[in-house]
């Protein structure tokens, strides 16, 4: 009996360890990371660029959001920002333009290893300098950017790769430059995006069912009837349509973290999730959040499928 129990636990530990190693360390094609970097970089650049005209008014000495007020409202710390070091409008504009250059390099995949880390610092500085200017988009953006620092995000869709191909002189070096060598760092990076996204979806679904409006099916109405935010006036929808839409959002958000790991159901879940994000963008006006969720969801797409889809746009694929 004792031997049987010991064997069970030994096989359990071995099985979990094997599964853990297979899940996190099996080398994979870094192609999706490059695509995610490009799209995430575009959104990060947009975020930073749209702050640029207002940095003086908001962040300069005597501005709308002095560091003391931000610190007071940030009750759990973490308010470190590069922009705290500067206080004149001129300095702030200069450092923001520098940050913009970093983000453009990151988006283009130039010195990706370095610029991915610098770009994360720039965006975190934006977020921590003015947390009251942020909403749902920023946590997803910083999450993806953080994990892009860990993997070879410049292995595709990047100037790094283009330059490596031009510099290659021998056939072997050219082949190495033209292919995306599978790497375990790419696996760790992609897996972290997947796991974090699944947990985030569970959190979003869980937070919704905490309130009665999502149970009684009226939540979509309360979103649709906010004229400042919405992109399209959908208040003409019937009650049943509102109820169905509300329940569908919760159903997708709660089922995604579990069912997306099934290969058979994954395409269906990703399609439904994309529809949910697009519909929420229409309802809430949170376009960048919706796009960021779709970009993060690309981590669940197989590299071969993404290469097939992008063949026309990226001949190297």
């Amino acid at each position: 009996m004792q031997c049987g129990v010991a064997n069970y636990f030994r096989s359990l530990v071995d099985g979990v360890a094997d599964g853990w190693n297979r899940f996190w360390f099996t080398p994979s094609d870094p192609y999706p990371l490059g695509l995610i970097r490009l799209l995430t970089g575009c959104l990060a650049t947009l975020l930073h660029l749209t702050l640029l005209p207002d940095v003086g008014r908001l962040f300069a000495a005597g501005g709308w959001l002095p560091p003391e007020a931000v610190d007071r409202l940030t009750i759990r710390g973490g308010s470190t920002s590069l922009f705290d070091l500067f206080s004149s409008p001129g300095e702030l504009t200069a450092i923001h333009v520098l940050g913009l250059a970093v983000l453009v390099f990151f988006t283009l995949g130039f010195w990706s290893r370095l610029t991915s880390i610098l770009a994360l610092i720039v965006i975190l500085s934006d977020v921590h300098r003015g947390p009251m200017l942020t909403s749902q988009f920023e946590p997803v953006l910083t999450m993806v950017m953080c994990y892009l620092c860990l993997g070879p995000s410049g292995a595709s869709w990047s100037l790094d790769r283009l330059l490596a191909r031009r510099r290659a002189t021998t056939p072997v070096a050219r082949a190495a430059a033209e292919s995306s060598t599978p790497s375990w760092a790419a696996t760790v990076s992609v897996r972290l995006i997947q796991v974090h996204l699944a947990l985030l979806m569970a959190t979003m679904g869980g937070a919704k069912i905490f309130g009665a409006t999502w149970w009684v099916g009226s939540a979509v109405w309360w979103l649709a009837s906010r004229p400042e935010s919405r992109l399209v006036d959908l208040t003409g929808l019937g009650e049943y349509a509102i109820n169905f839409w509300t329940h569908a959002i919760v159903a997708v958000e709660l089922s995604f973290p579990i069912l997306v790991w099934s290969r058979l159901l994954r395409p269906l879940l990703l399609t439904l999730a994309a529809l949910v994000w697009i519909s929420l963008a229409l309802l809430t006006g949170q376009i960048t959040f919706a796009l960021m969720m779709i970009v993060a969801s690309l981590s669940f797409c197989s590299p071969a499928w993404l290469r097939g889809c992008c063949r026309k746009a990226d001949p190297a694929a």
Binding site: T50, G62, T74, G78, L133, F137, W184, A207, A219, P227
Partner: protein
Amino acid sequence: MQPTPTPRDVGPPPLPSPEVRGWVSLFLFIHLFCVAVALASYTAPSALQERLRTVLAPYVATLNFDLNPNAYPTGRFYLTHDLPVDVDAVIHVDAKLSDGEERSITIPEPGLWPLERRRHYQALANAASTLVENDEYQAVLPKTIAGAILRAWGATGGTVRIERHLPLQMEEVAASDSSKSNPFGATHYSTVYEARVLVSPTGQIDLIKKVAAGEVAPVDKNAADKKPNDKKPADKNPSDRATDGDSSGDPSPSNGGGN
């Protein structure tokens, strides 16, 4: 003819050594634990989750993994629970300059482009509106925003007002009364905070909050018998000094509007 090398000729994919795997696994385990704590404590955290979240804050808040590090629900991942704070808000700052010119600004300003830029200002107005529910923090944003604007205008005083834009009820859409069916009608705005702002010659900002009649302790029987007949705090009220920077002690982890 030399065959074209394939990726396989370049070499097999490098596998991490067991030692590297061990260290990376340890990092992954700790990291995922921190993320799980940050996310699981988003809705109604237990005392243990709240404590863990505070301990792990230097890591999770710095990397922005904590979805709610502020004194109010920042990223509303629940979107709406039909709470009073789950609506859009606007901030109005008005002043009369020394030469008699009247100036005003609305936040977010109409016509802001692109939409992403408007989102920042809408988030700011919504944050100020949500903080109204929290006595300790409600004056922080009105004071800094209005103070900065009035100083830039060279004004010595003015007013700041936060209005919530109340959504239409489902049955109001088909109402024949246009004041009800028009989402921008006056009945759909509610002033939740109003204060006089004073700028001293040294640039010091003072806020004098206008308090709703219902919030003021009656001083005589006649006053006690009167019922407040208007919820707008701006209309008929004695003023009261706002607690806008003098509070001491640790800030409460309470998020005011609830999430």
